[in-house]
């Protein structure tokens, strides 16, 4: 039986020939991502800015009457709603800011939900309220802060781990490719204005883990080859390592993308953004483990000598004992 091979045996692609163009593209994309995040802003969910979110399905309609809804709710005098389709065209989420003074009087926001629900029912008898989320400004502030803390600590902890396991250059390389992957994912959310909530933070943490996983596999091979082929020019050695791990890289990316696509297409719409973030993150992470993580090492001065074991005092004594100088 012939087995399926996604990547032919003994590939010899000169990946590093493209290191400059790809680096420029990567840097430009990162700048673009952050510019967008700061200019366009992220479309934060109620988790992060506080407010009310009401999820509604119009059971008898093919399409949710978004424009009509917006007009109706605006008339209620609670400010402008943010109405978005979630998944199916007949499902929407309606987000409202907390009414003025709701921090001190929680009854106000209850009242608002009641009014909106009643209004929905009267205009659209087929509207089914699937869920209501209400987050106070205080809790959302805490959630935002802990989310950023989690991201920061994760990046730091993982880099320290790599620094211990490998040389410092590898730690820096891993960190750079990690920042790259997370930046581009954030960029995606700034461009598409998909809702950025707590589950997306979980997705980004996962991308962080995956990005490093991918980088480590390549780095592991580079380290192994550095010990094996001391005299090989660095670029050639990096190409060799990337090629040797290519079959694995592609295979794993493929399996991850298959499961995530299944989740995106067939899974519940509530985690659509989560799946989308992971898909982009994994594509980017695969690319960066080849084009960002590997070339970084040459720039940071890793050479064939980096992994030659330095002579320890014990080695020296043993040598002397054997009568060698």
């Amino acid at each position: 039986m012939r087995l399926l091979k996604l990547v032919p045996d003994n590939t010899n692609v000169h990946f590093l020939k493209w290191q400059w163009p790809t680096t420029i593209v990567s840097v430009l994309l990162m700048i673009a991502s952050w510019t967008l995040v700061f200019t366009e802003g992220l479309n934060y969910g109620v988790d992060f800015v506080g407010g009310q979110m009401i999820r509604v399905t119009f059971t008898q309609s093919a399409n949710a009457p978004v424009a009509a809804l917006r007009g109706e709710i605006e008339k209620l005098g609670y400010g402008e709603p943010v109405i978005q389709r979630v998944g199916n065209p007949n499902e929407v989420s309606i987000r409202m800011r907390l009414p003025h003074g709701a921090e001190s009087n929680p009854g106000l926001s209850d009242q608002m939900v009641k009014v909106i629900r009643a209004d929905l029912k009267s205009h659209h008898p087929d509207a089914r309220v699937d869920g209501v989320d209400s987050v106070s400004g205080k809790v959302s502030g805490e959630l935002k802060w802990t989310a950023f803390k989690a991201l920061g600590f994760a990046a730091l902890a993982i880099s320290i781990y790599i620094w211990f396991r490998f040389e410092w250059q590898f730690g820096v390389g891993a960190l750079v490719s990690l920042v790259h992957d997370v930046s581009l994912t954030m960029g995606l959310f700034a461009v598409t204005q998909m809702e950025f909530d707590l589950t997306i933070v979980a997705a980004i943490l996962t991308i962080l883990g995956y990005s490093l996983n991918d980088t480590i596999v390549v780095y592991d091979r580079i380290r192994e080859n550095l010990k094996k082929y001391r005299r090989m020019p660095m670029n050639e050695l990096l190409d060799l390592s990337v090629n040797e791990t290519l079959a694995r890289t592609i295979m794993v990316a493929a399996t991850m993308l298959i499961t995530l696509t299944a989740l995106l297409v067939l899974g519940p719409k509530v985690i659509f953004g989560f799946s989308a973030a992971l898909i982009v993150g994994i594509v980017v992470a695969t690319y960066s483990s080849i084009y960002a993580a590997a070339p970084m090492l040459t720039w940071l001065g890793v050479t064939g000598q980096s992994f030659v074991a330095t002579e320890t005092a014990v080695d020296r004594q043993e040598k002397l004992a054997r009568g060698e100088s």
């Binding site: 209501v132 989310a147 989690a150 781990y161 596999v217 299944a262 989740l263 985690i271 989560f274």
Partner: protein
Amino acid sequence: MLDFPVWKRIWVWALTLIVAACSLPTLVTQLGGTWPSQLPSPQVNLGLDLAGGSQLLLEAQPSDVAKQRLETMNETVRTRMRDAKPRIQIGDVSTANGRLSFLLEDPSQLDAAREALLPALNGTGSVREWDLQVVDGSRFVLSQTQQGLDQAVTQAMDSATEVVRKRIDALGTREPTIVREGAKRIMVQVPGLQNPQQLKDLLGKTAELEFKLVDTTALQSDIAQGIVPPGDEIVPYAPGTPGAGTSIAVKRLGGIRGDTLTNAQQTNEPQTNEPVVSIQFNGQGADKFGRLTTENVNKPFAIILDGQVLSAPNINEPILGGSAIISGSFTTQSANELAIQLRSGALPVKLTVVDESTVSAELGADSIHKGAIAMLVGTVIIVLLIAAAYGRFGIYADLAVIINVLMILGVMAVFDTTLTLPGIAGFVLTIGTAVDANVLINERIREERRRGRKPFQAVDLGYKEASRTIFDANITHVIAATLMFMFGSGPIKGFAVVLMIGIVTSVFTAVYLTRMWVALWLRRARPADINI
């Protein structure tokens, strides 16, 4: 690495099968079957986003507790000074800025006053609860210590949690989860509850009931202008009562608090058929109530709930049996609500809802259904792909993936964890990473074969070399998952739990289990070549 003596094989199989079997009760129930009740049945709980239901996060304000303690201290100081022998005269009492300060009329009583106060400053616990300062030789300033306040908040939250539990139990909803979160929050989850309004109404009141005498001498014009007659306080009528919008003056002292009730029921007033709440005092409360009503026949007294007057009926005759009727323009529902609140006791501190989320049962069921389909389709495609790519080795890997899913469910059931929607995503992801380990191993075996190593040696080296990488790679996932668990809330935690369990079980199934199968096959078949 390929040595598997019989005892090891038994051990590995036993562990695998037992853990995987723990997933069966959950699977059988979810697929619509019934699990025999005589067997042990660990179950994976479904989070509210999958089961449908409501979740409320309630928060107490420590400043409320501080204010209450200040009031209590105020009373204590007055009593102690009055009861001191000789009596200590104090004046200019103020509770501004969170501190209690008062002036001694006679500075020579300084030591006596200090002596009388000291026991009250330390409270019951081991921490000092109040700081005492003496200014200008005659002014006492009492301020709360942080430890004292913290302890009071903790105590208040402990009893608040109990009260919340009692109130929710009275609603008759099934299996609510009520847990303390941090120092001043309580998380309430009620599966199946679609509209939490009733729950919020029930928990939104502290339900502190007081009976106070109405000061009939107070002028209505004074009250309207907010001029408080000496020894009185002004209390507004509750919205919905006939007197709503107006206030009355009641005597500050000499009233009764409703913390001595043994029971409260919603009933209907026999003559008017109006919904009312009948209450029953305990022995001590009944005595006090009897004395109050006896001494004040033909005077009105106010029934006050949470600082608002419900009604101010006339005392027609002494009420000695310890049971009374509260009327206050109730509907049957609001009377019933008040009865529950009074039965469960007053909340020691007001709780506000800071976070609330409701998921309909339809959406929850839809999420489970779609999540399961996505998982199934993803798994089937991967299983086929891996089998096509690595032949026999791929089939071993596939078996490992399937066992892995069962084992994750099993571990979750045993540890009584909750599966949430992000948790399902975690499952899908874990399947991906579990495959990663086998891909690493099998690619390595391929490589070693290409370098011309014999099958046995290639497999041995493949596992050995790949294991190091797998270990490194999984550690990064463990770090990410741990941080998600530590800092995350709600959805992030649900995801992290599955991820962490999945990392451990996937390394076991993908590395250890497949290695055993491959080793046994190699020893039995002794193939001259392996197709990989």
